[in-house]
Symmetry: C2
Subunit: 663 residues, 2 copies
């Protein structure tokens, strides 16, 4: 099918379009703020680079990498070979499209958003590529025709549909236009005709993603069958439908696709991290819409199992390079932390759905940690270079031999899932910062801007002014006060040891309940609340079961995890021999010149002298050589400068480490 | 081609057939002992199980796994689909064949060796499957005809040829028969016609192996061109001949196949561990035959880089599951140690070639450590179950979801490279124990048996009687004394802190030179030397750059690395919370009832109490929660029983750890 080339003027979009919009009858504690706008400070600058550099670069990259060419092959408007070998290359396009749509929805960029034409062009391409029955995936159309919905374990067809649907929902919410939504619905309808009880195929996709997309399509269209289909896909995990390919043991087992146990019975997060997290985001959406207690309880249990035993300090998830797997409890390696950028994004998406479902602050605690650390490291400061994996250590002697998964930034990837995923999260970031309920407004994250929405008493709105995360001062001004009493809730971050609160310039002694400072009163426009979070740098230790960091500390300040990079340590030729002295103090220095302006933390330590005459065997008996394995010459004192982890890998290559030995 | 079904009687084999037989003009310091026979003790029992259980099980497993079927397809004596998806399935057959041949060569099993018929049958099958021009690999003959020697990076054709050649050399040395050697030579000649300067293909195999095989074929046949071809393949590594497949970044880079740098210029071992080690074994063979100093120097440099920075305490090699890669210097994880059984075998093969080339004891130090630990763990005590990877830790909560590479034993693997590789090393083990030079006899490893060979003064031989590694007493009796003075050299293991020596019941004060106790005199039959190695258990620490084991110790005794297994710790519900107290003593207890008879080491420690109220986040600030991250209730004292690592995973499943925290 094809669409008219120039759609008419778009109706005015709903305020603050965002990826999650619980239905009217959804059983959620909170709803995303109706208006959320970031106008200055830390995230504004990162979003500016995303909007002005990363997203504009997208179409050319998708062209040169072949993604658009493949869709043209499917549309029969181009000839040649399918480019690349991965079946899900269409999703790089639809994720970019989603990112561009969220950007398009923002007044800051809307007027002269140069990608508006690209958006239209690519939507037309997708419509042209779609088959008459609604099917749309270039790989199976071009490379493996006739094998539609046969190779579910690896084919990624429903995964592709999911990202198409999410892009279409974004486009509809941003512009009010129906063209991409029509394409998505036609594909969704085809899938609904194909899968489910009494339909030709009883199956699930090897990569979860369609579940959360279908729930949002239900929310956007009101078509209940999309929600039912999402529920079907959730329910059919864990019944061995994806056994194909498992006969040969070099493939991963069914846990890779979360097909080893039904979702409601799972005790921990397992298998491919992004697959697992997208699945749980979808299951949480279903729980929100259906109110099913068992599914909600499973979500809470799995989230806690994940954070307690399988989350890196940076919020990064996924311990294994092999099969991009979560790994065992407390197995949290440093140099081989996988921590795919996409899994950080998926974690934010799932946790936000949990925050809305439950109203609990801890989910936004994890979102904050992930956004500032494990997620943001995925894109360079200039918005042009990317990390697929986000290790917590790069060793002296590290050799990069190419490929997507090295500890070096690349301009793009063969499997380029991460860059457009970063783009869409940054473009939709305001959506994750604030919420409302019948009783008031909740600020989950702190970024200069304005946030508002409807409570039982009417519309309320606040402005936030802050230099967070460099400073702990968060000034909130009531802009729209509504008629009666309501509660302004401020999250006191889990990392925060001390804070002060002023309400109308008067110190207030209020303690948080479950992470929320809930300030209830009749507000007037101009009323102010100032939350001052203590930003003393701190040393952090891990649960002793995290073997990888035994006898180590990490430097943190506010929500930021810090790290040493070789380039900042003039006194040390390498980081493998660094020891931090945890008993001397840490000092803080803001460096506007460095890495776009960062606050560094400086500590004292020493460079461990290498024992002489170690020979060829690096293991020593304790008896004859002392505690550290050999007679040790004198160590050299060194000053150690730690930068925020998100800013690493933006200068010359070298060692890096988050966790620092203390003896 | 096909052979007559019943070959005539075989000529008497050369004594002590073994896989490495340097040529007459090879520039080696040592040569394998002409006779080497293990008749009792530790290795005799392991070899008995290999000969009586593992090897006899082989043909049925190769039948049920499809390997023999695939060869029958190639021979056109069967019909159906090629079974399995791997191109190198023939090598499971040829490695088993090599193992059976070494066994066949031993008088202990020769007379009624039930596999003699299987050997003949499989040799006929290989001959039938061979094409008229000498080519022989079932995968390319059946699955991808017409693509011969095109897909060198992944096709494993020369790798398959290498194992065929090694089996043929074994068969010839064991039986004197020419039938399999003829098959191998025809394939080798075809390869020689195809590869090299002025030939159709300038290329190398993605998996090294043929190099060492061709040198041995040269040694066996005297055909110089096989040595030249081996040298060509060595020299052509590092010139980007295997770039195919690297265009898509999800494949590993050229270092995976050691195609990133010429062998002589490499500074460290890199990439796929088994590929790297087989390549270096071949390069060492070439250096031995050509005497080229540059190649020898590269081998010494690379061996030292490997042992100093990339070797696990068990001798295991390969830190990454992903791409079975060596990893970075000092990156030696525990739970994710790959340490493929095949890489331990390859390490023994390479180090033995280095020992012969240089005469240095350190190579046999590593062989001993590898044999008793990283290698032997690869096969269960009953000879029926296998480990592909050999981790140094299994966590509480470890979940095995199937596949070859889990921390659980399997009866066979989809990629079954390891089991027949174990079989061939155990079957040829006596070959690795002793050597001679013009001046005398060297005992590299200690196993009850008899060892002898030719020196300048004539034939010498000794008998060894020992209960090593349970006891440190090694009694050597001269059986054949030769006419004049000669040197009996005994290796003092690198782990050994103290020993005593008696020559003819008289204490002798002799110190080792570079690891060798060299005792030179005129010997008479019946003369005795008793070496008593101190077997006190010891605690071992790693170089502090090995981050994975910071603040940990390992228990060792003699050549054995020990480990805790959950089943032996009745006082602890899991091993993640175990702490060893390194200040209390270790006691030793021989347990003839346990695991076929092992000496255990018992120490004292405690079970770390879990801090209360940790909540959902496993990281804590040092300031408010004390050094270990939380207020700690009282720990529970526990007795800890460590078994030899090689014997782990022979009982019920549970946690395991080699490295034990001390605080």
């Amino acid at each position: 099918m094809s669409l008219p080339p120039s759609p008419g003027p778009a109706p005015a979009p709903t305020p603050a379009p965002g990826p999650v919009r619980p239905g009217d009858r959804a059983q959620v504690a909170l709803r995303p703020a109706e208006s959320a706008r970031v106008t200055g400070g830390f995230w504004h600058e990162r979003r500016r680079v995303n909007a002005e550099v990363s997203i504009p670069e997208g179409p050319a990259l998708l062209d040169s990498a072949g993604n658009l060419h493949n869709l043209r092959l499917a549309a029969r408007t181009a000839t040649g070979e399918y480019r690349g070998e991965l079946p899900f290359l269409d999703t790089d396009v639809t994720k970019w499209l989603e990112a561009a749509c969220w950007q398009l929805a923002e007044t800051d960029w809307k007027e002269d958003f140069a990608q508006a034409e690209d958006v239209d062009r690519i939507i037309r391409l997708l419509a042209d590529a779609q088959q008459d029955d609604g099917y749309l995936q270039s790989y199976y159309q071009v490379v493996r025709p006739g094998l539609r919905f046969v190779e579910l374990r690896w084919g990624h067809e429903l995964y592709c549909a999911g990202h198409l649907i999410q892009a279409a929902v974004a486009h509809h919410r941003a512009t009010g236009r129906e063209d991409l939504l029509t394409v998505a619905r036609r594909f969704a309808d085809h899938i609904d005709d194909t899968f489910g009880p009494g339909r030709p195929v009883d199956g699930i996709c090897g990569h979860a993603e369609i579940e959360t997309a279908l729930v949002e399509l239900y929310r956007e269209t009101g078509e209940r069958r999309y929600l039912d289909l999402a529920g079907y896909f959730i329910d059919r995990h864990g019944h061995g439908l994806l056994n194909e390919g498992d006969a040969h043991g070099v493939a991963p087992g069914p846990a890779y696709c979360q097909d080893h146990v039904p979702v409601r019975e799972a005790e921990t997060v397992t298998g491919h991290a992004v697959r697992q997290l997208y699945l749980l985001a979808g299951a949480t959406d279903v729980a929100a819409e259906t109110g099913e207690p068992e599914l909600r309880a499973a979500m809470e249990r799995l989230w806690e199992a994940m954070t307690t035993t399988k989350t890196h300090l940076t919020g990064g998830l996924g311990a294994h390079h092999a099969w991009e797997d979560f790994g065992d409890p407390y197995e949290l390696p440093n140099e081989r932390a996988y921590c795919e950028t996409c899994s950080a994004i998926a974690s934010v998406q799932w946790s936000w759905r949990m925050a809305l479902l439950t109203g609990e602050a801890r989910y936004s605690d994890l979102i904050e940690r992930t956004l500032f650390n494990g997620f943001l490291a995925g894109v360079s400061l200039d918005g042009l270079r990317w990390l697929y994996v986000n290790p917590l250590q790069v060793r002296d002697g590290y050799e990069y031999h190419g490929g997507d998964n090295g500890s070096r930034r690349a301009l793009w990837f063969t499997c380029a899932c991460c860059p457009p995923n970063v783009m869409r999260l940054l473009a939709s970031l305001p959506h994750y910062l604030a919420s409302t309920d019948t009783d008031g407004l909740q600020l989950h994250q702190y970024a200069t801007g304005s946030y508002g929405g409807l409570t039982d008493g009417g519309r309320v709105a606040v402005g936030v002014d802050t230099d967070y995360p460099w400073q702990g001062r968060i000034a909130v001004t009531v802009d729209e006060a509504g008629p009666g009493e309501w509660t302004l809730s401020l999250r006191v971050p889990q990392w925060c040891e001390q804070y002060t609160l002023e309400i109308g310039a008067t110190p207030a002694e209020q303690v948080p309940e479950d992470g929320w400072l809930r300030i209830r009163r009749t507000w007037r426009p101009g009323d102010t609340v100032v939350l001052n979070l203590g930003m003393e740098p701190r040393l952090t230790r891990a649960d002793p079961r995290v073997d990888a960091v035994r006898d180590c500390v990490a430097v943190e300040r506010g929500p930021l995890v810090h790290c040493l990079e070789q380039v900042d340590q003039p006194g040390a030729p390498g980081l493998d021999d660094i020891v931090l002295d945890p008993t001397t103090g840490l000092t803080v220095k803001h460096r506007p010149d460095l890495l776009g302006g960062v606050t560094t933390v400086v500590g004292s330590g020493r460079l461990r002298a290498r024992p002489a005459g170690q020979g060829w065997w690096p293991y020593r008996t304790t008896r004859d050589t002392g505690r550290d394995g050999a007679d040790t010459p004198a160590d050299t004192p060194v000053e150690l400068t730690a930068i925020p982890y998100y800013a690493w890998a933006n200068r010359e290559n070298g060692g890096m480490r988050v966790w620092l030995p203390t003896s």
